[in-house]
């Protein structure tokens, strides 16, 4: 079929960095990105001048890689500005692995920053602008609050077909908060109960504001090099065993079955490349823009049968001490969500596999799955990572 398996473990993530998570008043997107990029390059034991590959994406700026290259003083031989929403920074993995394997470049920096929470441009203004430059004439006239209403529609269908309950979705938020309480970098660390979620302000039925991700500022970055080069760098290399990306639709109204996302395809691709199955995975980082996401992705990635996701996440089973560690940083629901979250899912997976996760460390973790989502259940990208013994 393909020789993607030849790329399995051929590259490793050797540096990660975050900066300015939460409130960062007075910082621009680029400043948050640059600080994160610097932290990731330093973490890799490299200098910015060692970077010869650059991947980035921005919600606001359509030619974003150019100002990033300019700002950081780079001269990359490999550039990827693929923008498929919040999953972009996981989707950047496989092309970068090919570029490293071919010799086109040797050290790829993937970086992101957003001042969404503290931006001088309000989200209402950005929404109005987007209607002009990127119209969705078959949805906007009905006044959905996007993206929340799109995920609410998916939740309504999941509840209808499988009997999934608001309580089960609330348990996703409660589990995320329990993990966040163990993470000093997380933005929201107050206790959260199922009732708190259910009684919170309704945004778009059946989702309350606590079923929805945070709006924060923040930046994140990682550095990837070849497996051979990784061995000479200071941090424990975390190898990329599989990666695949899939898009089936952009608008929620064009999604064929609201209970099945293209994570089914991206997950199958990533598992095939890695030669692994869900049972082989020690921990998951799933892009939880809304509580229904975690349920959908557990199903579509094969961790439980279709329709069983609600029952799977009940009563603390994905919380600390549960049967499967999911979103150990607190996720987009409680840790951070500066516009696009995907890179933070990947960074947390790396920190866990390195054994750097402190109080929230999953003991003995050797494999992790990081999954990104973009748009309104529109793009899905799955990565499988492992320590040296899994290669």
């Amino acid at each position: 079929m393909s020789n993607l398996k030849d790329l399995r473990g051929s590259s490793a993530i050797v540096g990660v960095g975050t900066f300015g998570n939460g409130e960062s008043p007075g910082f621009t997107d680029m400043e948050l990105l640059a600080r994160s990029a610097h932290a990731a390059v330093a973490d890799a034991g490299l200098k910015m001048s060692d970077i010869d590959g650059l991947c980035s994406a921005s919600i606001g700026a359509s030619m974003w890689t150019m100002p990033v290259i300019e700002y950081l003083g780079l001269n990359p031989r490999y550039i990827d500005g693929t923008m498929v929403g919040g999953s972009s920074f996981i989707a950047h993995l496989l092309p970068a692995m090919r570029a490293i394997r071919s010799g086109q470049c040797s050290a790829v920096l993937v970086c992101y920053g957003s001042a969404q929470r503290t931006s001088p441009v309000g989200r209402r203004e950005i929404g109005q602008l987007r209607r002009l430059v990127d119209p969705q004439p078959y949805e906007y006239p009905y006044e959905p609050v996007l993206p929340a209403s799109a995920y609410a529609l998916a939740a309504s269908r999941h509840m209808h077909e499988f009997g999934t309950t608001r309580e089960q979705m609330a348990d996703v938020a409660v589990a995320a908060r329990a993990w966040a309480r163990l993470n000093p970098e997380a933005f929201m660390r107050d206790p959260l109960t199922r009732d708190d979620v259910l009684r919170a302000r309704m945004v778009s039925d059946p989702l309350t504001v606590r079923d929805c991700c945070l709006v924060t500022a923040g930046g994140g970055a990682y550095v990837m090099v070849s497996a051979e080069r990784a061995k000479s760098l200071p941090k424990k290399p975390i190898y990329v065993l599989g990666n695949a990306t899939a898009v089936w639709n952009r608008q929620i109204s064009s999604m064929r079955d609201l209970t099945v996302t293209s994570a089914k395809q991206s997950g199958a691709g990533a598992f095939a490349m890695a030669g692994m199955k869900p049972n082989d995975i020690d921990l998951l980082q799933l892009y939880d823009a809304f509580t229904i996401n975690t349920i959908l992705f557990l199903e579509d990635l094969g961790f439980c049968p279709k329709g069983e996701g609600g029952r799977f996440v009940e009563n603390g089973s994905i919380a600390p001490g549960g049967k499967l560690p999911v979103n150990t940083n607190g996720g987009g629901l409680s840790c951070t969500h500066p516009g696009m979250y995907g890179i933070f899912a990947l960074i947390e997976a790396v920190r866990q596999l390195r054994g750097e996760a402190g109080e929230r460390q999953v003991k003995g973790a050797k494999t992790a799955l990081a999954h990104g989502n973009g748009g309104t259940l529109s793009s899905q990208s799955t990565a499988i990572l492992g320590t040296e013994e899994t290669v």
Binding site: P144, S149, D205
Partner: protein, 128 residues
């Protein structure tokens, strides 16, 4: 202004005149909505306009919660037309948060300030 050449503009002009049209591919016989220049089923360009029966079933539903000053709560639904295509719309009556998945609905073109929009009303007989 010249006559619109693209299907998006044509579809909107028809809506403004009170006519709800969808497309049908004469190559593969598939129905298409939203309007396209190229058939998403078979890749062909032989798309003709047809008037749908207008009847359909609510596939998914949400209520957007808004302050009264922002227009108040509003229904947003996905409706599957009997022809097999899906669209986002609003179930306008009954005016309540009572719209349920499976509800049978009938389309109506609402024209405001000269601009047409497809909305739906609940049909007697209720859910499937």
């Amino acid at each position: 202004m010249s006559e619109p050449k693209g299907v998006e503009a044509f579809h909107q002009l028809e809506l403004n005149a009170g006519h709800f049209l969808i497309q049908r591919c004469t190559d593969c016989t598939g129905h298409v909505y939203f309007p396209r220049e190229v058939c998403p089923h078979c890749g062909g360009t032989s798309l003709e306009w047809i008037a749908p029966k207008g009847t359909g079933t609510v596939y998914a539903v949400t209520t957007v919660r808004r302050k009264a000053g922002d227009g108040g709560d509003i229904n947003v639904s996905l409706v599957d037309l009997d022809e097999g295509v899906r669209l986002m719309s609003r179930i306008d009556s009954p005016v309540s948060n009572a719209t349920k998945i499976g509800q049978r609905v009938k389309s109506r073109v609402q024209v405001n300030d000269g601009k047409g929009l497809v909305v739906f009303d609940a049909m007697q007989g209720g859910a499937l």
